[in-house]
């Protein structure tokens, strides 16, 4: 088997000058959450996106690790973790398998979805392919239903440029209501902007107003009614609307989470997530 690069390095561009402060109030809780040693991390960042958009490439650029990349959808099948430091803070970053959607609940999608939902990352980077934004935005909109701590990385902008595709990133950001950072991860372009965006997001200096999928009629009524019920029952729950939609869609995992009381813990954390694939024939 390929050697697993699980060791953690501080990214070369962003070596912290001063010793890293160990203040980390929320960390001990998180340790139990995933069985991953979190003692030394201040924040968790998740990398989501369509397959083959350069998530692992960006992961490598940020961490200095050598997670495998390749020009075909599905190269990453399990989540990988690494870390980096930026401005006195240490970050754990999680590379997730690429997914086209978070609705189908196939195994890879479940891994990605569970992490965004239950891993409660402080910042979720959604890496999109600037050359086919339409399909990629579908996923961005879905992620923004789950969390509002989203930074969109418009990757492969070199490819877009080469093919004469002009993207107005600022306008896209305004419309989406979250930061959009143009980048070319393979060439190292945009990395420092991404780091700053992550930093601003976890520090709470970025205010996002995620664009919601407009719905009307009976669909909206049903979602609204259920959202209200959930919010009343679980005050402070961050994504009641999304849970309502998943319940209406008959999502087995979310139903279970609700029925067995895990949802109540979502506000505190303590949900098992699935990391590998079971196969039964």
């Amino acid at each position: 088997m390929e050697p697993q690069n699980k060791q953690i390095k501080v990214s070369s561009q962003q070596k912290a000058e001063e010793p890293i402060s160990s203040a980390c109030e929320r960390c001990p809780l998180a340790v139990q959450r995933f069985g991953i040693d979190l003692e030394k991390w201040d924040y968790i960042v998740a990398l989501a996106g369509n397959p083959n958009t350069g998530k692992s490439t960006l992961f490598n650029a940020l961490t200095g690790l050598r997670q495998h990349t390749g020009n075909w959808p599905g190269k990453t099948v399990a989540r990988a973790e690494g870390g980096f430091g930026y401005q006195d803070k240490k970050y754990k970053i999680v590379d997730l398998p690429g997914t086209y959607s978070l609705l189908s609940a196939s195994v890879d999608e479940e891994i990605a979805r569970d992490f965004i939902l239950f891993g409660k990352p402080d910042c979720t980077l959604v890496v999109v392919d600037s050359t086919c934004l339409e399909r990629n935005l579908n996923l961005v909109l879905q992620v923004m239903e789950i969390t509002d701590k989203v930074v969109v990385v418009a990757n492969l902008m070199d490819e877009a440029r080469r093919r004469g595709i002009e993207v107005n990133y600022r306008r896209l950001g305004e419309n989406l209501g979250v930061p959009v950072i143009p980048a070319a991860a393979a060439k190292g372009e945009g990395i420092s902007e991404i780091l700053k965006a992550i930093h601003d997001m976890v520090m709470g200096t970025t205010h996002t107003t995620p664009h919601r999928i407009a719905s009307e009629g009976p669909l909206k009524e049903a979602v609204d009614e259920l959202t209200d019920m959930i919010e009343k029952t679980y005050p402070g729950i961050p994504n009641a609307r999304w849970i309502a939609m998943r319940l209406l869609d008959g999502d087995q995992k979310v139903r279970e989470t609700l029925a067995n009381g895990d949802l109540a813990q979502l506000t505190q954390g303590q949900v098992k997530t699935r990391e590998s694939v079971d196969l039964d024939v």
């Binding site: 086209y100 959607s101 609705l103 189908s104 196939s106 050359t131 086919c132 339409e134 399909r135 579908n138 869609d249 008959g250 087995q252 139903r255």
Partner: protein, 314 residues
């Protein structure tokens, strides 16, 4: 494969099969006398007598003259079995590789093994489907079942487009022949002409004669308005370089979700880019990306062909 079944289990299967059959006979206005039921269940007179007596003792069944009738409790149980059966068929057809003509057999066994909770969970997981893969309605968790609003194909007027709503799954031989013609529930068709050897049908871009002995096994309902004007054709009829607009997806379950995730929702433009080395599969251009599909998948996507001369929408 289970070789040994506990006596209790065997009993449950017998009871449930009996309830199901009585329910079906009752609603089809067929004979529910003891001899008719014995024949339907394949039991001798002693066995059927014992079984019916047991059902009466459990207050699942009552007798009205010569005919048996389910009590409300019996009816509810029967509907629960039918619900499990049809949901399981739906699951097998949508989410597994089991061919359609085999799902009935699997469901016949499975229906007796599921608890109420498991059935409800399956229902939710499948997104509360209304119909099984043959087009029969699925009873709700509260055991309500709407009667199918369908017309026998034989009575369908020529001219307007119909959507297949139900295909009888028995006898299996006929069912297989109908599936082989591509006439699954959800498929649109037009009756062009009728004659003594059957109906002349146009469906999925093909014209063919449907033999009389099969016509009776198919029911239809009016197709949605969007399909009335434009002829829907499967994606597979497009040649390299041709374009179409997606009208609807015939597939259900996982395949449907995958298609939609890739951006194949109604209204989407799709273009045939190139066949592969051996001609199959083909690559299609969808929302700025290239996706390869086998012919079987392309047959599930119904499109409206866009004529080049009309100018492609930009």
């Amino acid at each position: 494969m289970m070789l040994f079944r506990s006596r209790k289990e065997t009993r449950r299967i017998q009871v449930e099969d009996a309830l199901k059959h009585i329910y079906n006979h009752q609603y089809a206005n067929e004979c529910t006398r003891q001899d008719c039921l014995a024949q339907a269940l394949g039991l001798n007179s002693r066995e059927i007598g014992r079984l019916l007596k047991e059902l009466q003792e459990k207050e699942l069944l009552e007798i009205q003259g010569e005919n048996f009738k389910l009590t409300p409790a019996g009816e509810e149980w029967a509907l629960q079995v039918i619900r499990a059966h049809r949901l399981w068929e739906r699951f097998l057809a949508d989410e597994t590789d089991i061919p359609l003509h085999k799902v009935h057999g699997h469901a016949e066994k499975r229906e007796h093994k599921m608890t109420r909770e498991e059935v409800d969970l399956l229902d939710a997981q499948l997104g509360y489907p209304q119909h099984d893969p043959h087009g029969d309605p699925i009873p709700s968790a509260r055991h309500e079942m709407e009667p199918p609003a369908t017309t026998p194909l034989l009575q369908w007027k020529e001219g307007t487009t119909a959507l297949i709503s139900h295909v009888e799954d028995e006898p299996a031989e006929k069912f297989s022949r109908i599936i082989a013609l591509g006439l699954l529930p959800g498929t649109p068709l037009n009756v062009i002409d009728s004659g003594p050897e059957g109906l002349l049908i146009q469906s999925a871009g093909r014209k063919f004669r449907l033999p009389t002995e099969l016509v009776g096994n198919i029911s239809v309902k009016p197709a949605p308005e969007t399909l009335q004007e434009i002829p829907a054709e499967p994606l597979s009829i497009l040649n390299t370089g041709e374009k179409g607009k997606i009208l609807y997806l015939k597939s259900q379950g996982l395949t449907r979700r995958r298609f939609m995730d890739l951006g194949m929702v109604p209204g989407t433009l799709i273009e045939v880019l190139m066949p592969s080395l051996f001609g199959e599969p083909k690559a299609y251009r969808i929302r700025g990306t290239t996706i390869a599909l086998r012919k079987e998948q392309a047959n599930q996507i119904f499109i409206q062909k866009i004529k080049e001369s009309n100018g492609t929408p930009k």
